[in-house]
Subunit: 354 residues, 2 copies
């Protein structure tokens, strides 16, 4: 019998992308599909695969008979409700941060560690943070080839990583400076924005302007000056790749891009690397697109990647002074592979096993 | 007698900043000041330190009697004319790339290797590339403390690094998307710009949009997929710091910021580092400003640094898995310390020795 699928958080930003993906990918013939959201959004009508569905309010009984429940909701909602869904017999695939580092919850990127989906004593599978996910399919492929030991990354993270609020803020900031002469506004962006009614205290970007700026902060403050996003990159990369001793340093920086996270990756391996082999490995990896022809000025940029499912990789170089190190640049749509798509891919793979 | 100073390239973008700096810093009482530019700009009047000066056309005889000649012109003009100025008795301080890696030309950042200004067999002193310069005062100070061995950097470079043309292009691109709904334009920036009469072939940013984007390319293609800017960071850092074997990997990325280059720096040292010591060293270094209080959300961003002379440093962390490594984020105005200011500081130091 075709499995029953629930989408919790159907009316949110990632939920909307999830429905687009469900409409575009028909490989799994779901039996019933249930859309679930907060009581406030209950009753709303949404069309999935040509059928109009009514959003149901989150409640224990909505999970009865559900085989797979995808969660795209804040950490605290997942923390409470994913176990309830699991107790009612569903496998919960959770895109929040609530369970990612739980040793009894696998953290799965299908291209890298699909075998982990079977090890789910809690009935919960976690989806990685979007920044980690944006490089993971690419990184996993070269890890298999060369054996990853060290990872230094600097991110270029999009506004939508902070949700719709992030997009709205960037839109408002760009509107406030539109038409102004950049040479004169550049030195006083903060004042210009505050004068336009956009106090920095209201910004989701750590109190700094994002228009005409970059902001070296993402997430909350953790020990020793690290931002939570930087520690997620380290800890989640170790867990997904299955390298508990992997050495990682990440610096996470927000940039005035709407959607698609990019990362400058400096990855060191057990063995000497070769650019030709890395290019071959990337090209052969499903869901990775090689965009790397420097003689033709071809490299990935976030604007060319928005809305796409794959991870795009280019600027692949063997580090001049580190023969075991590859430098490369990777772009991935943080709302698709970075969130909704990976969750849905896990659900598709689960469906094959039911 | 007070020395005679010439400024070649007085009417350019960096030349204008240079004149601002000369007006603001009165420590050296220059005798005569000569403004020099292409024949096309000759005759133009410009006011320096309260005196109206007439721009003279570049010619061998304009260097007669000049003690110090600062060059802010393209590589090929410097290559031809700096030796002529030197032959006529001036010390040429050149901000182009023509002489930076010449073993008979010192590459000087006063905070780091001021002693090198005396070793100038060609009568020429070179000023580093703006990306290298943006981190050098800060890096030099922690190098003296801990002994630098390896450097991994990712840059966030401003549009003005590509000159006035770069600023104008970013302005035009932002105007073309102004008022559009970001969610819909984000996936099609390239088409939107071309439709607005901004073909990608005309862009100074490697044929990619810079508005709502980041572009992992700066400069021209060199061997093995490296961009010239990335090799400059490596080779110039080695020369300035006096560490010929320094291991360096740089990824240079353009961001939609008007002015001020930022770098995420992962610097490894001979000795174990401490954040407290690094903060103290940065705070004590003249021309470096420590902006590092994560508990208060305090870190440097380019928008807060534009127009300032110092290098701003924050997000200082000891790498979790690399005890000898500091991660930090540095911002420097690429037109000031990154270009005009450093050149002028070298000229000031030279003036003391004449």
């Amino acid at each position: 019998m075709a499995p029953t699928l629930a989408l919790v958080g159907a009316t949110g930003a990632v939920g909307g992308v999830m429905i687009d993906i469900m409409n575009a990918r028909e490989s799994v013939p779901w039996g019933e599909i249930r859309l679930i959201a907060s009581p406030r959004s209950a009753g709303k009508k949404m069309t999935v695969r040509g059928t109009e569905l009514t959003v149901q309010a989150l409640a224990p009984e909505v999970f009865d008979g559900v085989d797979i429940a995808m969660f795209d909701v804040p950490d605290e909602i997942s923390a409470e409700w994913a176990p309830i869904a699991a107790a009612r017999g569903a496998v919960a695939v959770d895109n929040s941060g609530a369970f990612r580092m739980d040793p009894e919850v696998p953290l799965v990127v299908p291209e890298v560690n699909l075998d982990q989906i079977a090890n789910r004593p809690k009935g919960i599978i976690a989806n990685p943070n979007c920044t980690t996910l944006s490089m993971m399919a690419a990184l996993g492929s070269v890890h298999r080839e060369f054996g990853l030991t060290e990872l230094v990354v600097a991110s270029y993270q999009a506004a939508s990583g902070a949700g719709q609020e992030g997009i709205d803020r960037l839109q408002a900031e760009l509107s406030a400076i539109a038409g102004k002469e950049l040479g004169s506004v550049a030195g006083d962006v903060r004042t210009e924005l505050e004068r336009a009614g956009l106090p920095m205290a209201d910004s989701p970007f750590a109190g700094a302007p994002l228009a005409l700026n970059v902001v070296p902060w993402a997430g909350s403050l953790k020990e020793d000056g690290w931002a939570s996003e930087e520690l997620k990159v380290r800890n989640e990369s170790r867990k997904i790749l299955g390298i508990p001793e992997l050495k990682v340093s990440a610096t996470c920086v927000r940039v005035p891009v709407v959607t698609t996270h990019s990362l400058a990756v400096h990855a060191t391996f057990e063995r000497e690397v070769s650019v030709a082999t890395a290019q071959k490995v990337f090209a052969e990896q499903a869901s990775v697109v090689l965009v790397d022809d420097p003689t033709e000025g071809v490299f990935p940029t976030p604007a060319d990647v928005v809305g796409g499912d794959p991870t795009y990789v280019g600027r692949i170089r063997q580090a001049l002074d580190f023969p075991n190190t590859l430098d490369f640049f990777v772009c991935g749509d943080n709302l698709r592979k970075g969130a909704a798509l990976n969750t849905y891919e896990v659900a598709e793979e689960l469906a094959k096993t039911l």
